[in-house]
Amino acid sequence: MRRLALASLGLLLLALPWLVPRYFVFLANLIVVNAIVAIGLNLLSGYTNQLSFGHAGFLAIGAYFAALLTIHAPGVPVPLTILAAGVSTAAVGVALGVPCLRLEGLYLTMATLAFGYVVSEAILNLDWLTRGADGLRVPVAGLGPWRLATDVARYYLVLAVAVLMVLAARNLVSTRTGRAFLAIRESQIAAQAGGIHVAAYKTIAFAVSAFYTGVAGGLFAFVVGYLSPDAFDVFLSVDFVAMIIIGGLGSVPGSIIGAAVITVLHDWLAAFQNYRPLIFGAILIAGMLFMPGGIARALRVSLTRGGGV
């Protein structure tokens, strides 16, 4: 049963660009990129209970890193570019994570919020490198002899990376590290008493989360094709938090569903123009009121009640 479901999902995802309107492929790319960010954020906030409002900053670092690498070293194949974007963002994650060890709750949230602002200011001020507020045009990604010039080509790149990232996340959460994350979430004191090195695991959580977001950033650069600090404001960080809350804290499938829901919602609400923020906010509040624990838990509850699969 499970194999069948997985196989059909795989087939569906592979065939998707031919089943949906052309425009939806771009949206699907954005959904997948956001899903990778949401998984990364969930590892930090959902599993380890370190709430971050600065993930737009990590996304920006990954995106600019990938774009600048492609501009200055056009020969580098795209998987390497994406990996490098992830690794460099993870390094920044460690640099942010270590001082944040001393902070908890609201103070940590404030620090990550500030981090997001610092990154976008840095992009503005390093204009010799980033072209500041004018924005940076990202060259088409190259993979050996191919150039990923269409949304469909980029879809397969994004999808392949996402599958790897999802599998890695699902493995991670069922290892010793994942259990340590959960223990820290439930009680830091109890975790420490249980022999878990809290500081080390919190730093790991920051690094892994930043790595995921950096990888997503690298993909984002190629998917959108143009970067500017306007893309990475604090509301994007809030969107990421909304994704994991709506989808389900501490759940990998929940992260994916949350990312899909928020991305599609934004796209759909764009037609409401001025009323967009209002409707978006109302839907978020309703979602949290009626589905505490997120869509993931609500679905699980309703499926088990209905005697489902």
């Binding site: 425009y23 924005g135 984002f220 306007d230 994007l236 569903i257 123009q273 699969v309």
Partner: protein, 386 residues
Amino acid sequence: MSTWWAVLLASLITLGAVPAAAQQGVTDSEIIVGCSNSFSGPLAFTGEQATRFGVDLYLKYVNDLGGIHGRKVRTVYYDDGYKPQEAVANTKKLVEQDGVFAVIAPQGTAPVVATLDYLEQNRVPLLFPYQGSPVTRAKRFIFSGMTLYDRQSRVMIDYLVGQRRYKKFATVYQDDEYGKTFLTFFEKELARHGLRLVAAESIKRGATDVSAQIAKLQAATPEVTFLVLTPGPAAQALKERQKIGWKDTLMVSTGPLTDERYLALAAEAAEGVEGLSLWPDPLTSDLPGMRQYRALMQKYFPKNEPNRYSLSGYFAAMLFAEAAKRAGRNLTREGLIAALESLKGFESGILPPLTIGPDHETQKQGFWVRVEKGRFKPLTDWLRSE
């Protein structure tokens, strides 16, 4: 876990069920145009005025008179909140899902530039974007809207040096494409007259304290100080100047800054400031096109005060309607572009007679104004740059 994947699968299938795109945006009874614009975020007011109270205002008038060759024009707008990635998503949706015939009057350098390659590749006309960076010049499918920044610089320098005989210039500019484009062309145009800037101070976007920059400019004793800023910081700069009692310089605002909001923010500190205005005064101008604009605003949106943002959208729709009319009943994108390129001495009653050349620029002028008792008073006729 299998339930999860089943749920994911089901949701993906539902998401995919979107209706297919129409052809090219022209049917027997309808022409569809639209844009992605700011309806939230920092430029929400400008975006809403230009589209729903500007483009739509003129198109309502056209539609009530029977439309263009029997076709009513319908508009579709999406909010991008000034985010380039959302502008790209919205523009793809407009082209591929709504099947717009052309994109009209989007706003802002970053969101517009993010969509340029896509629109060119798909041969979709981009009409009159509300931004002034020269990056849109002379592209096959793009027609610029506002007078581009390099032209504005030339008009300003030629007037101030040629007619007003000023020799010592300085500038405070916003540190981005808008500011730096002006800076580069101020230097170039001054060099043409054998002059140079005696001081140039920059302000980062979003900064609120400008006292250091104003003090440095005062020390350079320029006769003329250009303000290349947005309304907030520019009003700060004027107040700072008033505070330190710096009187012996003429403050000059660039075109995008010369608007009513700036006057409201600066209040009496704006008195005596001069600048380049790209549009006739929306409230007081007696030009026939301006009277019609106000009459239509009164008729269709009586609660909305006339302003230059809605005027810019109104003008964009007027140009589009004129070109679509000339292109004939068999309307194609190529036909529209040919019709726009054939415009010679077109009388809008708002701007001077308009001719579009191979550079695809629709506006090449501004006129000089001075702030007197809280309003812009015209000092010159149209000043042009060819």
